[in-house]
Amino acid sequence: MTTAQFHSPASLADAVALLSDLGARPLAGGTDLIVQMRAGRAAAPAIVDLKRIPGLSGVRRSAEGGFIIGAATPCTALKADAALAAAWPGVVEGANLIGSVQVRNRATLAGNLCNASPAADSVPALITAGARCKVVGPAGEREMAVADIPVGPGRTSLAPGEVVSEIVLPAQSASGADAYLRLTPRTEMDIAIVGAGAWIELAADGSCTAAQVALGAVAPTARLVEAAGAALVGTRLDEAALAALSAACQAAAEPIDDKRGSAAYRIAMAGVLARRAVLKAAERAAARKKA
Amino acid sequence: MARVILPGAVANELFGGREEVEVPGRTLFAVVHALEVQGPGFEERAEGGGLAMAVDGVLAEDWSTPVGPDSEVLVVSRVAGG
């Protein structure tokens, strides 16, 4: 692990400058990066710690009533933010399934996103929430959908020197709610064999007015399944609609066989978990309507 | 001559498959020595703790235990734990 330089810049501009030389890696929580460095799976000749840049840690409300989450905000801080946890329980529970409390006191949403593991626990719910992120780099700032960041296992669409500085969640709709579920052999300290995020919006009569469903660990990246959401809109989430949802998810799944699960199992579980995540989100949406 | 009964694996490996052997000896020390002559390697295995011996149904760690002319010596393979 030959890391020659460690920097902890006090501004984003300094960080971007440092990150533009080849091989420099941003460090937020480090719970993926440091493991890969020690195992020799990631070369990091220079480390740029983002945690001393003011404004990058913490959750702020956006003008539209949504939430702006700094790139250096640890997952446990999301759970501690009551407003965020109430508005986006799915995003917060996804972030708080990563590793252990020790890991979640360090790991960040931006890090989980940019590590680009197909099984990243926080990404499916971010996608169904329509989250966006601010990217800062040598060419200045730009905004993009969270879904467009990961492009394959361990690969993102970020240009060299670019870093995600914020993740932005829209305001939650009056009768919408989200949920994230994952399938793991252990109750903690595990990696999703399959993950499923869902966002559901219900009309006064209980019928579904909008729905987003995304799957984790069944494709090179977390994946929004339009057909799954579409199968629910206009229905009362009855058995037929849920069956169509499951079928759509199974069709969208292109998993691999690996030490954690077989492709066949993942395809089957894609349907099962998506269904359960939808029902959990719907239950929360119904509860919000009444509250 | 004491009658010695050997476990299958030891019989096959050291005594040409004979599971019962007659040997002279008034103590287990003598019996073990006599068994070594017929099956070289037996003494080392017994000393290493891999084999235990019972004289007339009683396990004896102490080889000074007397062995009568018509005694039965049962050789048992022993297992250490984890």
């Binding site: 330089q5 460690f6 460090l27 440091i34 590793g99 252990s100 409390v101 006191n105 | -």
Partner: protein, 167 residues
């Protein structure tokens, strides 16, 4: 490769050390600082035996770069007892026999203290999920959880008695 000079606070004492940019906090605690109470069970954040607190939050010190310690407050197992007086958690672990080989115990104790600082009255399930990051292979966790719950009760009782009769 130039080494970094870091100043930090460990268990309330000011500490300085030189470290490679890639060195972990665990390497420094166990090496130059001679605090071998934090243990390396895996080096990948999967066992919790290296748990310390960093500015009050419990973390795996094998997944923190030593350079990140600059200006921060670190507590390790060696800082848990005050002088000769064991912390209630340490006492209850001994009373319940909540350790056998003891290798995971430092990490478990630091994590358990962080739990009770965060939640003085945890349910059994809350305690089990909080401690899920600390692997133990000897005890099957039963006596660890019972000792944590007993220490929590004792601390709550001390707290309430302190409130009733402030010193």
């Amino acid at each position: 490769m130039s080494r970094l000079h870091v100043t930090t606070t460990v268990n309330g004492d000011a500490q300085e050390f030189l470290c490679d940019p890639g060195a972990t906090l665990l390497d420094v605690l166990r090496g130059p600082l001679g605090l071998t109470g934090s243990k390396e069970g895996c080096g990948s954040g999967d066992c919790g035996a290296c748990t310390v607190t960093l500015d009050g939050a419990m973390v795996c010190s094998c997944l923190v770069l030593a350079a990140e310690a600059e200006g921060r407050r670190i507590t390790t197992i060696e800082g848990m007892a005050e002088g000769g007086e064991l912390h209630p958690l340490q006492q209850q672990f001994l009373k319940f026999g909540a350790l056998q080989c003891g290798f995971c115990t430092p990490g478990v104790l630091v994590a358990a203290k962080a739990l009770l600082d965060h939640n003085p009255d945890p349910t059994e399930s809350e305690a089990r999920y909080w401690l899920a990051g600390n692997l133990c292979r000897c005890t099957g966790y039963d006596k660890i959880i019972r000792a944590v719950m007993a220490a929590a009760a004792e601390l709550r009782q001390d707290q309430s008695s302190k409130e009733r009769s402030p010193a």
